[in-house]
């Protein structure tokens, strides 16, 4: 078999595998476009006979999705801003030195990273309610997400700072920059892309966060889209086309960002996760 034919065969095979793997995603889009009766047809149709685009407008209006997505955005932006402010400097220092204290710091970071949210929510909820923080539920969720996700951000961004040559910073210091000046003018711009990709990853996670929001935000006006989806799916629901339309509007922006930045996200993820 020639090289060319082999490549084509492998490509076809891998496309088939990707198609099988991504079938759930396809099924979400197809179901969202089906009518109420077509959705329950046997055998199920794998292509909508007449696409019901009006479902999207109907679900957007009736479920008040604008409000839900706005709350998700507020929470995700708040968490990312706080994480980037606190985590970037921390990652920089942990990347710059090699000693026992850095090792201890990294170990602590990892320990904080692995704590499951569903286990931490009990003490956080009780503690926050005693401090009165639950009066500001979205802020409470932002703080909780920050504590949960900052360690991951630090690990990812630290890998980026490791790739910035130390000599550049030293040269800036010799030229009369202060530490803070060298950090802001030399190191930070060089690490900008890595920080941005990590921030986007954290944003996508925070955008879909569920445990903390479900437990701490009682007021429906302030709930994010994940909680909204959860309350949409009652135990005996039959509105699957509407639910899938909701899910479509919720994830499509995330998927679009992912497909655009796929290469960077994958390489950022692999550089941080195993080191």
């Amino acid at each position: 078999m020639s090289e060319n034919a082999r490549n084509r065969l492998l490509l076809a095979l891998s496309i088939v595998m990707a198609a099988i793997y991504l079938f759930p995603l396809y099924w979400m889009y197809v179901t969202a476009l089906k009518s109420g009766s077509e959705m329950f047809a046997t055998p199920p149709s794998f292509w909508p006979s007449s696409a019901q685009w009006s479902t999207f407008a109907y679900v957007w209006e009736s479920r008040n999705m604008g409000r839900y997505l706005w709350n998700s955005t507020v929470i995700a932006f708040g968490a990312v801003a706080l994480i980037a402010m606190l985590g970037t400097g921390c990652a920089y220092v942990l990347a710059r030195y090699r000693n026992i204290w850095v090792d201890i710091g990294l170990f602590l970071i990892l320990m904080f990273q692995v704590l499951p949210a569903s286990l931490m929510i009990t003490p956080i909820f009780v503690g926050f309610s005693q401090l009165g923080l639950l009066e500001y539920p979205r802020l409470a969720v932002i703080l909780a997400i920050t504590a949960k996700s900052m360690p991951f951000f630090v690990v990812l961004v630290r890998a980026t700072f490791m790739a910035v040559p130390m000599e550049l910073e030293e040269a800036a210091l010799v030229d009369g920059n202060s530490r803070i000046g060298a950090f802001l003018n030399i190191v930070l711009p060089l690490a900008r892309n890595g920080i941005l990709v990590s921030a986007i990853l954290i944003f996508m996670q925070a955008f879909g966060e569920f445990v903390y929001s479900k437990s701490m935000i009682q007021d429906i006006q302030l709930q994010p889209a994940s909680v909204g989806l959860n309350s949409f799916m009652g135990p005996n629901t039959s509105e699957w086309n509407n639910i899938m339309a909701y899910a479509t509007m919720y994830v499509t922006p995330i998927l679009a960002i992912f497909v655009l930045l796929q290469r960077r996200i994958v390489s950022g993820l692999t550089s941080g996760a195993l080191k």
Partner: protein, 300 residues
């Protein structure tokens, strides 16, 4: 005052501030809750005593109560099945895919990256989609299984106690496979190619090369990935909320979901804290294994 300020902008103080502030934050919002959790596991905490720190001290009663409750054993068993089933599935499928995409052909790395879509999606959306796919009467999985002749009647994945846990495991395998694959692919690409060339010259076939080179060279990567898998499966919550809600009759309940359920549905925060303490010990153990298996690799 001036000396302190100049140290912060241009000296040791700069590093200390950069590292000190986030660590203070983390200790306050993760470290303290951890300790508070332990304290609460020895107290009786309900809706009425929520506001006070000094609550009735009950010693080990929460722990003893939990282990005499009838559902405890089955929930712990579910947790083990969930963890082992998920990790095995994710790892095997992920490894097979990683090995396939290891063959170099144009488009391989782009298509491989596409799989990570499952990882960036909100867990609740993944759960909603699988909930619909696994639906008993109209689910597409049942249809496909019957078409291919693998089974003759519909399985009620979500409401049959024999299958409800496996419904969540199936969704979790789908969710975690891509992450396993990407990390395994990174490990594979780090194996020096000349090892394979040498083995090929010595006449080793593909099967022998896999067992004598690939697996031994991947040992620490595989250890790290299994530890990470343990950490991730013990964090899984959204899929339970979206697919089975722990039911029917606790048949798909696992420890991390139960802890939340005790606290936020039954308002028994003391017991919720007790399970959390026990599970946290397991998670920290997994994290230590992870650190040990990555330590031998060249860092940075």
């Amino acid at each position: 005052m001036k000396r302190v300020f100049s140290s912060i902008t241009d000296g040791r103080g700069f590093d200390l501030v950069l590292v000190g502030v986030p660590f203070t934050f983390l200790l306050a919002l993760s470290g303290l809750p951890l300790l508070y959790n332990i304290l609460m596991s020895f107290q009786e905490v309900d809706m009425f005593s929520l506001g006070s720190v000094i609550r009735p001290f009950v010693g080990f009663r929460n722990y003893l109560d939990l282990f005499t409750q009838p559902e405890t054993v089955s929930i712990l068993k579910n947790t083990i099945v969930f963890v082992v089933g998920s990790i095995t599935g994710q790892f095997l499928v992920g490894f097979a895919l990683a090995l396939f995409f290891w063959i170099n052909f144009p488009g391989a790395s782009w298509l491989r990256g596409l799989f990570l879509v499952s990882w960036v999606m909100p867990g609740l959306v993944v759960g909603a989609i699988w909930n619909w796919i696994l639906s008993g009467d109209f689910g597409v999985l049942n249809f496909l299984l019957q078409q291919t002749g693998l089974m003759s009647s519909n399985i009620f994945w979500r409401s049959d106690p024999n299958f409800s846990l496996w419904a969540v495991i199936l969704a979790n395998i789908w969710l975690g496979t891509s992450f396993n694959m990407i990390l395994l692919a990174t490990g594979l690409s780090a194996i020096p190619a000349d090892l394979y060339e040498a083995a090929e010259m010595d006449g080793a076939n593909a099967w022998q090369r896999f067992w004598t080179i690939t697996l031994p060279m991947m040992r620490s990567t595989i250890g790290a990935i299994i530890a990470l898998g343990l950490i991730f499966t013990l964090q899984q919550f959204d899929l339970f909320a979206a697919i089975t809600d722990g039911g029917p009759n606790n048949s798909s309940n696992v420890a991390q979901y139960w802890a939340w359920d005790l606290s936020f549905r039954q308002y028994d925060f003391g017991k919720g804290a007790t399970i959390s303490v026990i599970m946290t010990v397991f998670v920290m153990f997994a994290a230590t294994v992870y650190v040990r298996s990555t330590r031998h690799e060249v860092r940075g």
